[in-house]
Subunit: 515 residues, 2 copies
């Protein structure tokens, strides 16, 4: 058995059966092994940022890691911004990076680089395979590092000759770690805070956004008046009118400060202390009031769901029967030119139950998400690390992870252009994704940021750097060029007809929403 | 004056008047300063890999650095693979990366990352601005590091608040370093080798590929029989039938070994010892014979051109009048289905004199370049670091650097998809680029590599990972979607008509060559 086959066997034995890849010469034996080791689905991506984003989306939905296969330092480099997002989400990923054959390294060939240096930007778990005999063991250690709580990107650097040489046995199956319940006195202390009568809010993150956790949250909210916010880096938010509504912390610091204003206590459940996206002149970086005490109910490595249930029982909220009021679907918009409000209403009305929404709407998000909160239950995947170009790749991974669910990629035009190659993989794998491009032909968010940062009036040169309209990107043409059928909608009626048709069918379809 | 304005003034005073950028919130003051400080041309790119590749192409043609402006760690990450190529070419680039405002860093916001760690993968010259007072000085130090011989990517990390606060004076103008002539005894020693009667070859790289250097090389070749090869990492190769033909070291190791077989001496002029791209089973990594002695005439930091002229005079080749025989243009191909040979003949016949060729043809290169060697004089820009996705961005930079020259981007289909966003900048800036996409719908080079690495027969799963034909990419549609007019050529006649029309006009135009 070659090293590559041993590696593949170890992955498959550990339930890692999907690999998003963009291989090169040094990974040819891994590619070849796909035909000799059953059980691994190789999914080709035209750009490495699609691989890393897809692996992120896959694990966020599937709850187990995918692998990625990347070519040397530059291939890894191209994946790093979406790995940055995955790092913030604490997504488990097994990242395999090919290296030159061990004897070739000393010659400083064109593609030689310090692969570990690239890896260190997003991971502390980096293994360079030391020889063909230890490749199976190294693979198991990498998998163990990836799934160690709370999850991370684990990197395995594989010299080409260790892939092609005869190798030792496959590595062991790694037991899945089970998160522990936080200490009883920690839960008790939080219960006291909730019962104190002071204004308290809880931030939910990590895995603590599942139906059980949200049900406990709802009962705690009814019993004690505590409010619930979502962590920015939460890998997945469950939303919709049949789901307990967790508040989002607004993007702009004034709004975030207003949302948290007056709180005496903030409780973290698998979450981080809230922080503004950016610092601005004369604006605090943290929206948490200075007098607010921050406590932790459960860390990202602990079982926040069980902790919430224990908390619920401690404060006597376990028996509360108060049913969740199911809000009405938003009304449909009037005919006319397309607006964000209209898109939100239409999507909320016609999205299938249990959809997955990959949200990279940026400046278009708020008016749309407002209505989605009244739509059917669905999962939202947000840009955990703020690095744009995530939305389409994450949609690829989510669709691979859940072929029976509709994925909606709601995507700003500027952001779409960072990783548009994802469309090709959607077409190739016939992924069940409806893509809506919000085509305002601007880096619109920067219009706002320009003013906010005090950079002043937007002059003509500056305006030129925010303008995507010269020439106008034609997303219908771009999408068709990668094999995804596409249409353009400039009115409410057009968008409604196109969106209904898109979600009714299986497979990818893109709608350019003209704004 | 704000820090951003001080930074811009320092750049412009140092002759750095072009910035390829993809800014975000932390760079808004730099963008704003474009309207307050005259002399800087900001060129917007839809993806950071286009910025870095364009800065590389610009400096390779212009002989002075451009700047890039990138947004935080993830923005820098997206630029790194083309910076890898620039690093191998020793291209001077002033890379400005925005950082969170200094007070915001400790909060671990979503976009917080270790920017210096990203920078270290391609550069040893990294400066983080320490305060608004020192921003001008830091800019000058960064410029000095970039242009220090032999040239490198110098990184300047600028916290947002140091951009927006009132700053000190602009930094000084940095004197341009002048490369020194190598020591006389070093040149003398090489002269003795050339006169020894043994088989000798010279590898030319760095700046030693200009008309003066090539003229000296020609005379040395006539006088002593010495052969000349081009360094793989040479930033620019001058080629064509009116130019002394420097041999290329073949891509595959057996061919490279055959080319260098029998040499007793190899002399490096601003060049690296040749090495194979990849290591393979049972194949030496170095094509240099074991008994061949390697000497250096000039390092990358020395004046190789002057050294070649001194060498020419020492061996008595200065007075040789032997004129360069101007080869005939290749004959035009017969009508019929399009082939690589036909493309090479047509391009060689109709490319304007003094064109710039950005070569990312990969598996299609050899049959085309064979004919270009008989075409009019032109400069070739090759993938110095082997990281694909360079060709179109480098063409952007070259066209900005030399608006009076025709740029030909000869581009493999697989490689094109790594940085296709470059087309939009070509359309926006009306750059004088003719793009030919070699559409074979395969990672064709990997068909060959799969066999070479001993990975065996290509099974159906492996084949799937090398196949770009399902669905077929439609480059006409993709190009039009980004505003670049495009046509498709499946026959010799179609390609000839389309290529002649494209080079006759100014502005970008793409031809999908169906292979």
């Amino acid at each position: 058995m070659t090293g590559a086959e041993t590696l593949l066997e170890t992955l498959v034995a550990n339930g890692i059966d999907t690999c998003f890849m963009n291989p090169g010469t040094s990974e040819m034996h891994f590619v070849s092994a796909l035909d000799h080791v059953p059980g691994m689905r190789g999914i080709l991506c035209l750009y490495e940022g699609v691989c890393s984003g897809a692996a992120d989306g896959y694990a966020r939905i599937k709850g187990k890691p995918a692998s990625t296969l990347l070519h040397l330092g530059p291939g890894l480099a191209n994946s790093l911004s979406n790995f940055h997002n995955a790092r913030k989400a604490r997504t488990p990923i097994v990242s395999i990076v090919g290296e030159h054959s061990s004897g070739h390294l000393k010659y400083d060939a064109p593609l030689t680089s310090d692969i570990a240096a690239f890896a260190r930007t997003v991971s502390q778990e980096i293994r360079t395979v030391a020889g063909p005999d230890s490749i199976g063991e190294a693979a198991s250690a990498t998998i163990a590092a990836a799934i160690a709580l709370p999850g991370q990107i684990a990197m395995m650097i594989v010299p080409a000759d260790y892939s092609w040489l005869a190798a030792g046995v496959p590595g062991p199956v790694v037991p899945k770690p089970i998160p522990a319940l936080p200490a009883a006195d920690q839960i008790e202390a939080v219960a006291q805070i909730l019962l104190s009568g002071q204004p308290v809010a809880v931030v939910l993150g990590g895995a603590a956004m599942n139906p059980r956790a949200l049900d406990a949250a709802r009962r705690l909210s009814v019993a004690t008046g505590v409010r619930f916010f979502a962590d920015r880096s939460a890998p997945k938010l469950t939303c919709g009118r049949s789901v307990f509504a967790v508040e989002k912390i607004p993007y702009f610091p004034e709004d975030a400060s207003a949302a948290l204003n007056g709180l005496a206590h903030l409780i973290l459940v698998e979450a981080q202390t809230p922080v503004s996206f950016f610092g601005y002149p004369d604006t605090p970086s943290s929206p948490v009031p200075e007098t607010c005490a921050v406590s932790t109910l459960a860390t990202r490595a602990e079982d926040g769901t069980a902790a919430l249930e224990a908390l619920r029982d401690l404060v006597g909220a376990g028996t509360i029967a108060d049913p969740l009021m199911k809000a009405d679907l938003p009304s449909l918009p009037e005919p006319g030119p397309l607006t964000l409000d209209a898109i939100g209403r239409i999507v909320a009305n016609f999205m299938p139950e249990n959809s997955i929404v990959s949200d990279e709407m940026i400046s278009s998000a708020v008016p749309v998400l407002r209505h989605l909160a009244q739509g059917p239950a669905h999962d939202q995947l947000t840009i955990t690390g703020g690095a744009i170009g995530q939305g389409l790749p994450v949609a690829v991974g989510a669709a691979v992870a859940a072929p029976d669910r509709k994925v909606l990629a709601l995507e700003a035009d500027g952001s779409a252009m960072y990783s548009l190659q994802a469309l090709w993989t959607m077409a190739r794998e016939n992924l069940n994704v409806t893509i809506v491009i919000f085509a305002n032909h601007r880096y619109r968010i920067l219009d706002i940021e320009m003013t906010r940062t005090g950079a002043g009036k937007i002059g003509s040169s500056a305006n030129n750097m925010l303008d995507l309209g010269r020439p106008e990107l034609d997303f219908v043409s771009l999408s068709q060029g990668m094999g995804v059928p596409a249409t353009r909608a400039a009115t409410t009626e057009e968008f409604m007809a196109q969106f209904r048709a898109a979600v009714a069918e299986s497979g990818p379809r893109l709608i350019e929403a003209v704004l």
